[in-house]
C-alpha cells in the first residue's frame, strides 16, 4: 500500500522510536554482559529458551500496552490469563469439544471479561486501577471455582501442547526450531503494532490517553472505543492463557497473580508512559525481552535468588532512568 510507505511517521512513534532505541541499548548491554560472563549464555538453545520465556509475559504486556496508552491500567491480566486457560480446559477436556473451539473460547472469554472491565471503567466510571483490581480478584476466585481448584490437563487434546511448544518454523528449517509460542508473540506484536500505528483504534488510544475529554468533544464515542480497547486487551490475554496452558499442558487455576506487575514493568521499561498518550509495541517487546534476558542470565550465573530480585529492581529503575535522561527536561 503506497500511502503507508509514503506517509511520514506519526509523532507518537517519532518519540517512541527514540525510546525504543534506548530500551534496545539496555537490552544489548545485558546481552553483551551475559555473553561475556557465561559461555553458556549465547547458545542457540538458550536463546530459544529466553525467547520462549518471553512469550507469555510479552503477550500479556502487549495486551496491557494499549490500555496503558489510553491512560488506563489493567491489573487483572494475570488472573484473566488463568481464567481463559481454565475456560479452554473446560471446553476441551471437560466437554471434549474440538481444539479450535477451545482456542476461540479462551480468546472469546478473554474479550468478554475485558469488555466487563471496560464497561466498569467507561460506563460506570470506576477508576481503572480499582475496576481491574476487583476483576483480578473476581477472576482469581472464579478460576478456582470453575476448575474445582484442580488443574485441568489437556491430555485428551494432543494438539494442544503444539500451540506453544511445537515449531512450525522448525518443521521447515530444522536448524532454527523457534517454538510456536515465540512465533505467536511476534505475530501478536506485528498485528498490534499495526493496529496501534495505522488504525483509527490506535489513534484513539493515543488521543484518549492525551486528553479524553477533548476526544469526546470531537464527537468520538469514547465510551465505546475505550471499552473495545479493554476487550481487545482481554482477547490478547486469552492468547496468553492458551500459551501458558499449552506450555504446562494444563490450566493451573492458582497461577496468575503477580504476572500483571511483570507485564506492566515490561511495558514501562519499553518506554510507554503510565500517564497515557505515548508508547509502542516494539518497546514493550524489547521490555519483555530485557526482563527475560535478565532473569535467564542471572539464573545461569547462579546468582542467589535474593540478589536476583535486588538486581532486577535496580535494572528496572536504571532502564527507565536512561530513558528519562535523554528526554527533554521540560517534557511532562
Amino acid at each position: 500500500m503506497s500511502d503507508a510507505a509514503t506517509a511520514p511517521k506519526p509523532a507518537s512513534r517519532g518519540l517512541g522510536a527514540q525510546q525504543k532505541i534506548w530500551a534496545f541499548a539496555s537490552l544489548i548491554v545485558l546481552l553483551v554482559f551475559f555473553s561475556i560472563a557465561s559461555p553458556n549464555f549465547l547458545q542457540t538453545t538458550n536463546i530459544l529458551a529466553v525467547l520462549q520465556a518471553t512469550a507469555v509475559n510479552g503477550v500479556l504486556a502487549i495486551a496491557v500496552t494499549m490500555i496503558i496508552i489510553t491512560g488506563g491500567i489493567d491489573l487483572s491480566i494475570g488472573t484473566l490469563m488463568t481464567f481463559t486457560a481454565v475456560t479452554a480446559g473446560m471446553i476441551l477436556t471437560n466437554w471434549g469439544l474440538p481444539l479450535p473451539l477451545g482456542v476461540l473460547g479462551a480468546i472469546g472469554m478473554g474479550a468478554f471479561c475485558g469488555l466487563i472491565s471496560g464497561t466498569l471503567v467507561t460506563r460506570m466510571r470506576i477508576p481503572p486501577f480499582i475496576a481491574t483490581l476487583g476483576m483480578m480478584l473476581i477472576l482469581k476466585g472464579l478460576s478456582l471455582v470453575v476448575s474445582g481448584t484442580r488443574p485441568i490437563y489437556f491430555n485428551d487434546t494432543p494438539g494442544y501442547t503444539e500451540i506453544a511448544q511445537g515449531s512450525l518454523i522448525g518443521d521447515i528449517f530444522p536448524a532454527v526450531p523457534v517454538p510456536n509460542g515465540v512465533l505467536i508473540l511476534f505475530l501478536v506484536a506485528l498485528v498490534m503494532a499495526w493496529v496501534l500505528n495505522r488504525t483509527v483504534l490506535g489513534r484513539y488510544c493515543f488521543a484518549m490517553g492525551s486528553n479524553e475529554e477533548a476526544v469526546r468533544l470531537s464527537g468520538v464515542n469514547t465510551t465505546r472505543w475505550k471499552t473495545a480497547i479493554y476487550a481487545l486487551g482481554g482477547g490478547i490475554c486469552g492468547i496468553a492463557g492458551l500459551l501458558i496452558s499449552s506450555r504446562l499442558n494444563s490450566a493451573q487455576p492458582a497461577l496468575g497473580l503477580g504476572y500483571e506487575l511483570d507485564a506492566i514493568a515490561a511495558v514501562v521499561i519499553g518506554g510507554t508512559s503510565l500517564a497515557g498518550g505515548r508508547g509502542s509495541i516494539l518497546g514493550t517487546v524489547i521490555g519483555a525481552l530485557i526482563m527475560a534476558v535478565l532473569l535467564n542470565g542471572l539464573r545461569i550465573l547462579s546468582v542467589a535468588q535474593e540478589w536476583q530480585t535486588v538486581v532486577t529492581g535496580i535494572i528496572i529503575i536504571a532502564a527507565v532512568y536512561l530513558d528519562m535522561l535523554r528526554r527533554d527536561k521540560s517534557a511532562v
Binding site: S2, D3, A4, T6, A7, P8, K9, P10, A11, S12, G14, W194, V195, R198, T199, V200, L201, R203, Y204, F206, A207, G209, S210, N211, E213, A214, V215, R216, L217, S218, G219, V220, N221, G277, R278, D328
Partner: protein
Amino acid sequence: MADLVRMQAIDKRFPGVHALRAVHFDLAPGEVHALMGENGAGKSTLMKCLAGVYQPDGGRIEIDGAEVDLPSPKAAQDHGIGIIHQELALMKDLTVAQNIWIGREPRRSFGRLDEGKLNADTAALFAGMNIAMDPTTPVEGLTIARQQMVEIAKALSFRSRVLVMDEPTAALNDAEIAELFTIIRQLRAEGVGIVYISHKMDEIRRIADRVTVMRDGAYVGTVDAAGTPIGKIIAMMVGRELTDETAEIPDLSGAETALEVRGIRRGRELRDISFSLKKGEILGFAGLMGAGRTELARAIFGADPRDAGEILVHGRPVAIQRPQDAVRAGIGYLSEDRKHFGLALGMDVRANIAMASLSRHTGRLGQLDEAALAAHARDYIATLRIRTPSDRQEVRLLSGGNQQKVVIAKWLLRDCDILIFDEPTRGIDVGAKAEIYRLLQRLAADGKAIIVISSELPEVLRLSHRIAVMCEGRLTGFLPGGPATTQEEIMHLATLRPDITSEGAAA
C-alpha cells in the same frame, strides 16, 4: 534613573524552533510597557525568561542595573518579579485563597497553617480589586474568567516591583477589564513596572505608555503608545498594512432554517431558551460572564445533560444526548477552553486537526489514510497560517494562539453544517483575527449556519448578522447585526434581569 529591567540580546532555542533572536526589552519603574506581536512571535517565551521559567541561551538580564541570574521562578520572585501566565496555572482541588498564597501561606509554629489569616488576606485582596468572590470556593468550579481573576489576584498579592501580565484579559469582559485597568493604573502610580501582553489593540491605547513589537522571535522596535497610530503598530507586527472590513449582512429571508432550539432548560443555568438559526447566518451571542452562553452551547452539543428542550436540525428533531450525536447531526463545537476541551496536547498538529474526522478517513480494516490526513493538515497550516515547524510538531509546543488555530482547523476539516464557535479569537493576534473573521464570513456565504459566542463586543458587532443577548441563563433579546446596533443596546439586554413584576406575573 536606571531601568528597572533591561533584557539584552536574549536568545532562546527550542528543538526545531529559534524562539528568540537577540531580543531587547527594557522596563522603567511606573510604566506600562506593552509587548506586542503575532501568535508565536515569542512574547511569552521572552517573559518566561524573565520569570525564571526558561533559561535563555544567550544575552543578559539586568535588574536595577545589575546583572542577575534567574535559575528558577523562586529566584525571579525574590527579585520582585511576578507573572500572570498566559495559560492558567491553578490547582483545581484547592480553594481560591489557597491558590493565591501557595508557597507563602501564613504559618504558625510546627508548619501549621493559619487558615483564618489566609482567607482574611484574600478577602482584603479581593476588596482592593473590587471583586466579589468567596476565598473558600474551590477553583475547580470557577469559569475561566473567574480563574483568570484569581491569577491576577495572585500576581498582585506578591506586591512585585515588576509585574508581567501575559494576556490577562483574554477571558475577561469589558467591566472586568475596566476594573483591571484601574488596578494597573494604581500600581503604576506606586512605581511598579508592568509588562502588558495583549492582542486587543484598543487596550494599548487605554493603558500602555510604550509598546515593544516583536516579530518571528526578533525585536522590531519600541514606540511611544500615545503618539503612534494603531495602524503603524499593526504594520510593525505583521509586516504589512491590514485593511479592516465590516460585515455585510446578507438577505437571509429566503434561507431555510438550519438549527432550531426549543425550550432548553437546565437548573438555574439555562432557563427556557429558544431560538433558530438559518443557513448562511452568523448569530452572535453576547452577554456578561456567567450569562450561560457556554452552558447553552454545551447543552446543544450534548456535552452536558439537559433537563428539557428540543433540538431540530434542518427541521427534523434530533436526539442529542452526547457529542457524537451532535457531530453526526452536523453540529461542531469549538470550546472556549482549548487546553482542556479542545486539544490532545501531547499529539501532533496533524492528529489534532484530524481528530473529529477520522471516521471519514478510515478503511475497511480501520486503517487510516495518513496521506490524506497529512495533506489536510498542511492545507490548514497554510490557510490559517499556523506557525509550526511541521504538521508533526506536538501541539503543546505551539504558542497559545497557534493552538487555537489548530482547534479551528479541526472543525473546518470536519465540515459541519452548523458550527458553534465559543470565543474563537481568544488569544489570537490581529492579523489572524482578521483572517478568522474572513473565514467565518466565507463559511457563512457557503451556506453554513454559525453561532459565535464572544465576550468582545466589537467582535460581536463586527461579525454577527444577528445578535442574541443572554443574561443569567435567559435569552433577553435579539438585535440586528451591523453598524446600526450599539454596544449600549447590547449591554442593556445583557443586564436585563427579570424584574419583580414579571416574576410575579409568571407565578
